[in-house]
Symmetry: C2
Amino acid sequence: MNLTDSIKRPTLHEELVERLRNLVVEDVLKPGEKVPEKQLCDSLGVSRTPLREALKVLASEGFVVLQANRGARVASVTREELENTFPVLATLEQLAGELACQHLDSAEIELIERRHADMLKAYKSHDRQAYFKANQDIHQALIRGARNDILASHHKLLAARVRRARFMANLSDERWAQAIYEHKAMMELLRARNADGLGKSMKLHMMNKLSALVKALEAEDETPR
Amino acid sequence: MNLTDSIKRPTLHEELVERLRNLVVEDVLKPGEKVPEKQLCDSLGVSRTPLREALKVLASEGFVVLQANRGARVASVTREELENTFPVLATLEQLAGELACQHLDSAEIELIERRHADMLKAYKSHDRQAYFKANQDIHQALIRGARNDILASHHKLLAARVRRARFMANLSDERWAQAIYEHKAMMELLRARNADGLGKSMKLHMMNKLSALVKALEAEDETPR
DNA sequence: AAAGTTAATTATGAATTCATTATTCAGTCA
DNA sequence: TGACTGAATAATGAATTCATAATTAACTTT
């Protein structure tokens, strides 16, 4: 018998926050779309009270927009928002890189090393799925390595808000190659425990991602199907 | 007849989020203190539904802690949390400084210049109240000058969370003098529109504030009254 | 037929009610 | 006396209900 089972029973609204946030991040609920409470209640099998509590939280996180007496809409990620979010994310990653260099122990670095190898393998076999996964794990590990919960929580929120952009614009071969190159450099700086260098390179990595994204979006605008 | 009055009528829960957050930030609700819903409902004159919605938001912002079936407690700002929050705040200020240098127009800089003068005057007349106000206005103006809403919102949240620290430890004369010195340097860098320099100096300013705070708190621990 | 007006419907904000979990307190037994 | 048991009380999580604002539909009028 598992004694811990009875203890961690998250409240309904907490689960709803998670699930709804995922629906938004994974683009199931489309930007600008209305979110009728009734319908969601039915499909999720809960009453309006916990659902509305969850919506309030999502709104404060910026995933939905509430209008008084008009309900909730999924927040749309404008270009301006992207261009505002990435610099903030980049700075946070810079800080994370610096701190991770100081705090990671060799076992943790070894683990990242392995995920890095996985990532390279995924690149060589053109497996985008596996690449994204390994890539995300590496960033996660570095954030965790910073040993700073505040940093982690703000990073997580911002990263989630921008994650949908991945669905909007696909990774170009050129950018992919560049990203791999940047990751190799980052790995070396981490091995050398060059805190300042890793921080700067992570920041740059993120800003380059923004450039690629904006470029891809502009190209998309010109061929709107 | 004012036509806009009927339009901007914030919902009850939004007002409650504001009011409750202020109660926490201004240390009316003490850290660790239980927040009985019933009692708050009575004193605020609202029902539990909007109040609970507000509490959920406050929890996601980190001002209160929710325990299932046990209600809400005001989050206590531990030393560890302070030491985690300040580096993040400092990085955000660094970014703000860099961006502000690029975006502020001369009229806005002139405005900051004036508040800077106010601040110096307050220092000379040992008016802590006026000093804090001018100081806060300057930081606000720089954040706004960054022209980045995402940056601004995250900064605002983090700043609010540590604001209570001001109630915990008073500003020492030594630190005050140092802060003034740092502000003068920042002002010069702003005049020269030295983005990199201003960013670094704002970051340092914030980290020095943390050091002073930690020192003050340690001194307090040794003389617990 | 089109635009404007009013009634009906629907959806939301907030209060209330119900069910379940903690907490308190009295009573029992070692 | 002090620790344990269990009933009584209080507080919370969630569902339901009520009131009001927004939206839709029907109808009028030109």
